[in-house]
Amino acid sequence: MSGTLVIRGARLSDGTATDIVVTDGVISELGVSLSAAGSQVIDADGLIALPGLVDLHTHLREPGLEQSETVLSGSRAAAIGGFTAVHAMANTLPVADTAGVVEQVKSLGDSAGYVTVRPVGAVTVGLAGQQLAELGAMASSRARVRVFSDDGKCVSDALLMRRALEYVKAFDGVIAQHAQEPRLTEGAQMNEGTLSGQLGLAGWPAVAEEAIIARDVLLAEHVGSRIHICHVSTAGSVDVIRWAKSRGIAVTAEVTPHHLLLDEHLIRGYDAKYKVNPPLRRAEDVQALREGLADGTIDIVATDHAPHPLESKDCEWDVAAFGMVGLESALSVVQASVVDTGHLQWSDVARVLSSAPAAIGRMDGYSTGIAVGGAANLALYDASVSTVFSASQLRGKSVNSPYLGHTLPGRIIGTIHNGYLTVVDGELVDTDQVASSALVTERGAHHG
């Protein structure tokens, strides 16, 4: 990367104002009134500078489901949301259960260049829950897979789960469990409770999630492995994880932005844009998730960005697809649900959306946050604005956002990935320009 970038007057997450100088993909200087002759200057007055956001749970849909999203379109959606790295889930067609598929996804991500794409490997062949996938081959492939998940499906077989937890210790991997007891959720459509009874929709009991989490933290304890719990959605799950952490079990957990903001009452009109797995829960659960994130029981926020074509949502509730897009709106929803409500400081946001997910995924370059010598992955955010969220703010291929028409705070003004700009003045940098910046950076890395 040639050239130098100066970001003027940004406020760090701890509140201090600073200029940030970026040289050759690295933060070279922090301080007041810095200058660098001949460099590009970005006025960040009034903006919060966060370390580049890292999503541990993204569905990029490629290969195989390109009508919903591609690695490129999903990367663009991520960049406009302030992300500089995403973990691409394995439920593609073919499933990412071999070194070949994960390497393909990684190389698509590298050439798109908007974010670092880290493929997640399937735990079992074809996500079928029968036989372990080639976890070692994926780990030692060029994609260096460290997170394994059958997400979308639960690894429900206790023995298979035990073996997977044990096996990935060999390469410091982690199993990310989609906690959903399958028999208890056959045909399930929404959170089971008073409202599901009224609406006549098959119930999805909280216990179906909590029972698997309880089983798996005990398994992890027994075999001495670390485990990650995807999209925790109930108050009971928070309690189980809190208990597990108090016993010293190496469990980490994520919550999605939508489970921090939305509750099941939105389902009353049977609008399928609110259909998601796990389902929207009660207001009490939303409250417990916010508190769990605030007290560290829940480690990170992950989007579970799940693009679907229009026709999968424009239909009857029970035939509609599960899932919501979330990359573009994630930081705004986090601000609305936990920052503006006093649960989290901006420094906590930097942790739950950047350093902590990077650590779980064993990514380099995110542990120090914004510091001299660190990789220049940055998000510049204007927390003072407020907009009615619309489809025009989405950059992926799909528009199945639950926030369309909702008023949300904040907006990403700039995103810097490996030292080059992917978002400027709130707009994506051109695809070709980003791709060539990525190429230059990669060459530089090889030389260095």
Partner: protein, 317 residues
Amino acid sequence: MRHLLSTRDLSRDQAVAILDVAEDMADVATREVKKLPALRGKTVVNLFFEDSTRTRISFEAAAKRLSADVINFSAKGSSVSKGESLKDTAQTLAAMGADAVVVRHPSSGAPSVLAQSGWIDAGIVNAGDGTHEHPTQALLDAFTIRRRLHRSAARGRDLSGTTVTIVGDILHSRVARSNVWLLTTLGATVRLVAPPTLLPVGISRWPVQIGYDLDEAVSAGSDVVMMLRIQAERMHAAFFPNAREYSRRWGLDDARLARLGASTIVMHPGPMNRGLEISSGAADSTQSTVREQVSNGVSVRMAVLYLLLSGEREELS
């Protein structure tokens, strides 16, 4: 009234008004000329994604007695079974100029989706959606109860002071849901009796009393006992051990019928499983309203279609 999607949306006065109009419609049914010109030139589509001959012909008779044109659109043999979406079907009906669409659908909420979609401007009548609601069935049940209790003085009255016991598969019953909301709105006390497996989670927050023991409910007395159809396939999903045990504990047999007061009304939305949830003796007794329910169904559906399709599109005042 713009749509009829759920009895939860109805106020007491709206519900009484519908029942009163149904009384007028029932009067017409006793005349030699049973037809009214009120909906001349209107088109009513019966859009049935699920077989239900009795509900369809009831709506068809109702629409025809009001002089509306009726189009029956059955999912069987139509393009729906070839995978046409609800959206395309709705837009087709809109293009055909449907003024009202009577929808029977296996998905809970499908009529609500249609009503809010913008795909079609017609008034939507929910004729049974999944395990959600079946509002016209509840209205005809309330109408039947009110007529039995108050005879010719029924107009203007609600069901205050009446106790209704609903027995059977509450969990999967759209009839039970619609009746719970409507009957309680009309002032009745509703008691649900079922095996615990067939009561929805969270039912303690419904405005009803709950019991597991039919004999206890029979002894306690009730103005109305409404038996719900039990589907044999439920036993395969472990809701109860087998039909015999269900029938023994939750069926209205001759012995339980005899213990009911002579004035207790016995209802069933049909179709009945004789010998399972209701004995032939109970179904055919003078206390049974099973056949009245059918004829009242036409009057109530006439009232609903009239209120939906006459006048400017406004709320019933």
